[in-house]
């Protein structure tokens, strides 16, 4: 479903962001992408939704290759992906319902089906009662639920989440994480970038750890005891590079 083969990404100014990245994500899998800030998590996610192309190697997502994808193919692929960010990226002048509906409208979905679909996903994320609220009227956790509802509206085969709990308090984090688990248990793959070690430790999902743009650990290939979690990321020697958020 998703395959990265010997992928490297270099930026002219900040240098190497990723090197020799190879892994596969299967249908319905839940994968954590962990690592310190600047380790390349966001860059990998960007490559997955083809917002950027690798400098070397190849990324395959649902049959679309980073080497040959056309603009139209990329648009079509993104309709089958759900993407969630730390900063929610909601339109603040539109209600929760309108924010979710927007994702369907811009893909030219038939009008008749939109209302029912929007109601369904808002119920799924537990926000049916707040459909008419505007983002500033919602808590961080609720805003992230709206963003997840928007990501789910097109029935994605994978949900790509970049630090979705990064701006949330512990309670909201638990709620959003549970929601992602529920989504995953209904068959949608989830790839979640996070540096929340507690969250990663508490669950038994596959974990790919990055450091300095390289995969240093993949629980699908190494025994669980090899997890390098004991070393706190904050005190690593090399300062984070500036590839995050490019």
């Amino acid at each position: 479903m998703i395959r990265l083969t010997d992928v490297a990404k270099e930026y002219p100014r900040s240098g190497v962001a990723l090197a020799q990245i190879s892994f596969e994500v299967k249908k319905g899998e839940f994968v954590y992408l962990t690592g310190p800030s600047g380790s390349g998590k966001t860059t990998i996610l960007k490559l997955l939704y083809l917002d950027d192309k690798p400098s070397r190697g190849e990324v395959w997502v649902n049959g679309v290759s980073s080497k040959t994808a056309t603009g139209r193919e990329i648009s079509r692929l993104r309709r089958r992906l759900g993407i969630v960010f730390q900063d929610f990226r909601l339109l603040e002048d539109r209600t929760a319902e309108a924010n979710v509906r927007f994702a369907l409208e811009v893909t030219g979905a038939p009008k008749a089906t939109i209302r029912a679909k929007v109601a369904r996903v808002l119920t799924q994320v537990g926000l049916a009662a707040k459909a008419t609220s505007f983002p500033p009227e919602l808590s961080g956790g609720e805003q992230q639920r709206v963003a997840i509802a928007r990501a789910l509206i097109n029935d994605p085969f994978v949900l790509i989440a970049d630090e979705p709990t990064g701006n949330l308090d512990e309670r909201a984090t638990r709620g959003v994480f549970q929601l992602l688990r529920d989504i995953n248990s209904s068959g949608t793959a989830v790839i979640m970038a996070t540096h929340d070690l507690d969250l990663v430790r508490r669950s038994n999902y596959r974990t790919i750890e990055l450091n300095h743009g390289r995969v240093v650990f993949d629980s699908a290939e190494s025994p669980a005891s090899a997890r390098p979690f004991e070393e706190p990321w904050e005190v690593r020697e090399t300062p984070p590079d500036s590839t995050e958020g490019i």
Partner: protein, 281 residues
């Protein structure tokens, strides 16, 4: 249809920004329009002065009228010539008296010679063509002298050239200013919706789908700005006509061209602004 609705909704969401956009486009086109109005009026004034460019050939006293008539027919066939008139001695005297006013009595009958007066076609009044016509007229044996105010024609021609070059330079500068201002105005609209554009891309909207509402928005703003500018220029022209001097206004073709120009600028401005934005995300 959806794109038009989307453009309308966007304008409704930010009515002040949209109104500001239209007014900015209107004022930049107004400045360009005023320049255009000045240019066409200067051109008209120069045309009027140029109409006075004429070549006068003085005829010997003894010449018979048939020879003059034959020469006039020949001259009338020169490609540069618009009209050929015969000015008899009597008519010349009458004209001189009229023109000299209080000194009218100094002229006596028979003092002024008869002449052939040649008016040239528009576009054939350059010093070279005037000289060429004069030289050909000199070849007739009964022509004593040919005059055409050589110095005056040369000065006028130089003035016209200066006006043309200045007109083009200023026109290009005004148009460039208008394009830059319109581009910046539209860019503001695009930037105000940058987040919306980035989300549209992430959820899989095609570039054309994103672009189209902006193109329609640019088109509508361009046309409205163009029409508003036209009203401003028309009012300015009326005021000048009323209180200062008689001027001419743009003909229908130029009016149409102005509004189409506004629309094209609106669409191009949108295309460039959104295009840059789509690439950057």
């Amino acid at each position: 249809m959806r794109s038009a609705r989307e453009a309308l909704t966007a304008s409704r969401r930010a009515p002040l920004l949209s109104a500001l956009g239209v007014v900015t486009i209107a004022f930049s086109l107004f400045a360009f329009g005023l320049f255009g109005l000045v240019a066409i009026n200067i051109r008209k004034a120069l045309d009027q002065v140029e109409e006075r460019v004429e070549v006068r050939a003085f005829v010997s006293d003894s010449t018979d009228i048939e020879s003059v008539a034959a020469a006039m027919k020949d001259i009338g066939e020169f490609p540069e010539v618009l009209r050929v008139d015969y000015v008899s001695k009597e008519k010349a005297l009458e004209r001189a008296r009229k023109e000299m006013g209080e000194f009218a009595d100094v002229f006596e009958a028979g003092v002024l010679p008869a002449s052939i007066e040649v008016h040239l076609r528009p576009g054939m009044r350059s010093p070279t063509s005037v000289r060429s016509v004069a030289d050909r007229m000199k070849t007739y044996s009964f022509i004593d002298d040919v005059r055409y105010g050589e110095e005056w024609v040369e000065k006028l021609y130089r003035l016209r050239n200066i006006a043309t070059v200045a007109g083009i330079a200023l026109g290009v500068a005004f148009a460039a200013v208008a394009i830059i201002i319109i581009g910046a105005t539209i860019r503001m609209t695009v930037l105000a919706r940058a987040k919306e554009i980035s989300i549209m891309r992430l959820v899989g909207a095609t570039d054309m789908f994103i672009r189209l509402p902006f193109l329609i928005d640019g088109l509508v703003k361009g046309v409205l700005g163009g029409l508003l500018a036209l009203v401003f220029v028309w009012v300015a022209n009326r005021v000048v006509n009323e209180y200062f001097m008689e001027t001419i206004f743009f003909d229908r073709q130029l009016v149409f061209l102005g509004v189409v120009g506004g629309a094209v600028m609106g669409v191009l401005g949108s295309l460039v602004s959104v295009g840059r934005h789509l690439r950057r995300i």
